[in-house]
Symmetry: C2
Subunit: 431 residues, 2 copies
């Protein structure tokens, strides 16, 4: 399939300069890849096989940009959306969430992940870094819909151990072009020291990065200090787990030493402001990390704790909460936040061919409708995206060269109403 997008504004994010420059021109895809990004093609014959496009889309001045990357989520928790809100964290997690998760089946996770994928598509999120169980179901849901998914290991003892992690690492990194896998464990507070040591050994064996929940709550950090005499980050460093990179999800309660370790190891701090807000976990020191040059990406966290899977909300919260935290309206400008959301997330989860728009990169891209009142006037498109953008502006979402969502319609191999019906049946059964 060869597709031509013309009459477009294009924000390629394909250099490391500051800012988000926009060109006027066109973009072509060939199969799963981008084959051209540049000026309008004036002389049609000059482009080899130009006449062979399967589809030509007049963008009418709308914006083509890389899709958003959701660098931390638990997709299948869709069944718990709006199930138990406005509760204290401990009651929420231990009395409401965990008992219901125990009853999930692999078939449930398959459907619930599909529901999340639909939501990602409506908001222009073209890949996500998914940490949940029944990973075969997650991978199947992604492949069957055409979605790009980086799976994150989530061992925490119990039935899963380091062997699980090693087996899955090899399996899912040789599974399908849409699927990849990174080493990971749930969190310090749910994982034994022995298992964390095995994860560290595995990381060195595979020369692979390691990801985990890190310093989401004050309680987590305080209890880790009681157990181990140091913060989670310092513990992971001392266990030799960070030599090949990786990162932490949340990173809310970080001290100076934690930040220095993240900086020195080139780790990714994935911030989750929607979830940290709704669960009253606090405001991560994103601006402090940004000033230090720490790698930053953004995640929605799962739909039970956010409750939506919407990068527009997260972008506003990233900058807005830093402005509140630092009492300074100038911190965390829109362009940097946009780069975190649309480019950095791909690098964090190892999707180095989905980070930007240039020849040879994966065709993971979205069209933003600028002809809606919240995007007018066009003083600054980057600011509009971060400060007034909405999923209602997402006209089209393409992954791996295939259009999976366009003008409100899904092209994912199963009818939306069937996915809704099955999801409600699961929610009813587990209530």
């Amino acid at each position: 399939m060869k597709i031509r997008f013309y009459n477009a504004r294009i924000m390629p994010l394909n250099n490391n300069d500051k800012g988000c420059p926009i060109i006027t021109g066109e973009l072509h895809t060939n199969g799963s890849k981008i084959s051209y990004v540049g000026k309008p093609v004036e002389n049609v014959e000059s482009v080899e096989s130009f006449e062979s496009f399967d589809r030509e889309i007049d963008c009418k001045g709308n914006l083509i940009m890389p899709g958003f990357k959701n660098a931390h989520t638990h997709s299948a928790m869709t069944f718990l959306r709006s199930y138990a809100d406005d509760l204290p964290l401990q009651e929420w997690l231990f009395n409401q969430i965990f008992p219901r998760e125990d009853k999930l089946t692999p078939d449930d996770v398959y459907i619930l992940t599909k529901l999340a994928i639909m939501e990602y598509l409506t908001g222009g999120i073209t890949s996500c870094f998914d940490m949940y169980f029944f990973r075969d179901s997650i991978a199947s849901a992604a492949v069957d819909t055409g979605y790009r998914m980086a799976l994150c290991g989530a061992v925490n003892g119990g039935a899963e151990n380091a062997k699980t992690l090693a087996r899955e690492y090899q399996k899912f990194n040789n599974y399908n072009e849409l699927i990849s896998y990174q080493l990971g464990f749930h969190a310090e507070y749910t994982t034994s020291l022995e298992l964390m040591k095995e994860v560290a050994r595995l990381s060195r064996n595979f020369k692979a990065p390691v990801f985990t929940h890190n310093s989401e709550t004050e309680k987590e950090v305080a209890e880790c200090k009681e157990r181990h005499g140091k913060t989670p980050t310092a513990l992971f460093e001392d266990l030799g787990m960070l030599e090949y990179g990786g990162g932490g999800f949340h990173c809310v309660h970080f001290d100076e030493n934690d930040m220095n370790i993240f900086k020195n190891r080139g780790l990714w701090a994935v911030t989750n402001p929607g979830s940290n807000t709704k669960l009253a976990s606090g405001i991560a020191p994103v601006w402090q990390m940004q000033k230090k040059g720490i790698n930053l990406a953004i995640g929605t966290d799962g739909p039970a704790s956010n409750n939506c899977l919407d990068m527009f909300r997260e972008m506003f919260l990233v900058t807005g909460l830093q402005k509140i935290r630092e009492k300074d309206a100038a911190v965390c400008d829109a362009q940097n936040v946009l780069i975190m959301a649309a480019k950095n997330g791909a690098l964090a989860m190892g999707l180095v061919d989905s980070d930007c728009l240039s020849e040879g990169k994966n065709a993971d891209l979205i069209m933003i409708d600028l002809n809606q009142p919240n995007m007018q006037p066009l003083n600054s498109i980057a600011s509009n995206l971060v400060y007034s953008g909405s999923k209602s502006n997402v006209k089209m979402t393409m992954i791996n060269g295939k259009i999976l969502y366009e003008n409100g319609e899904f092209f994912i191999g199963e009818k939306p109403e069937d996915i809704y019906r099955k999801s409600n049946e699961i929610a009813d059964r587990l209530r």
Copy 2:
């Protein structure tokens, strides 16, 4: 025009009980009013003139609810959206905003208000409390599009004085069924003591409430204390300005005495979390006010400081920021926030016939598409609206019995592309 909405879920918000109960049934409108809300009509002949509906809309199980009420905004500031973000407040206001506002013409304000109205319609906001200048232009834009607008006086000396306020009060409260007017002045820090005393006299003459910006920033409160030895709220109380009610916009830096005055006088605290976040003004003590029983409503503030006019964002921020402020995930539950956004705002701005859905009330209502992934499963529709809702869920917006927005199309008497073009011309001219 008589319209029948059937096969609907309906959230009438028509009682003062806690919660947001939903019924299954239908709603009829007759001209500008609601003529029926209730169970499905089984026997068609039993409803007088049932056959005379001009249109019957199958809601397919989607939700009909009162429109959102934007209880504080400066609509025409659309031209400054994304113009000067990420700047310190003083530089933003004095070097970027004020000089450009000085160049606005009445014709500009007419177009820029129309652009804002379009955005309100896409997000299901059916009325707003608009504080800006060139109020003839604002009123014309509202009447010409069919929008319900409560104008808020904004005297602050200069060309406008108490006589302006008195004249406008009488004029705009007898202007058009869509237009109303409340006494108001800009803020303590921009208004002389003499003028505030005149406003107080006017309030007693008309037996009318008074509205103003109040305690938005720490600086504002500190300087008021220096000038007058008391907080803005205490000053207004001592000037005898609050005897007939009214309220304050922002109310971020309130002390115990301020809250007691608001409680005792039955004043409205209008919170603006998007703006307070983006301008680093702080987090208002909404939960403290809610516990005291203070009347609460929600506003977007103007599009230069937010930058979008979206009640879904504001609702999430109201509860989310309180959870952060109080370090408690249980505060400010979704149903209370929804009532603030969809019902209370009308009462705050004096639109007592637009607050809820029942026979004889104004037909100011919206249809929410539940068949989108962010609204599934249907564990709790109120929670879904507050925590995962988006303007993309707004299928239809009706004001005063007329559908002004439906399935992405506007019915406002002027073409969207013309409003966009003119708005960009204004933005370019004033840049």
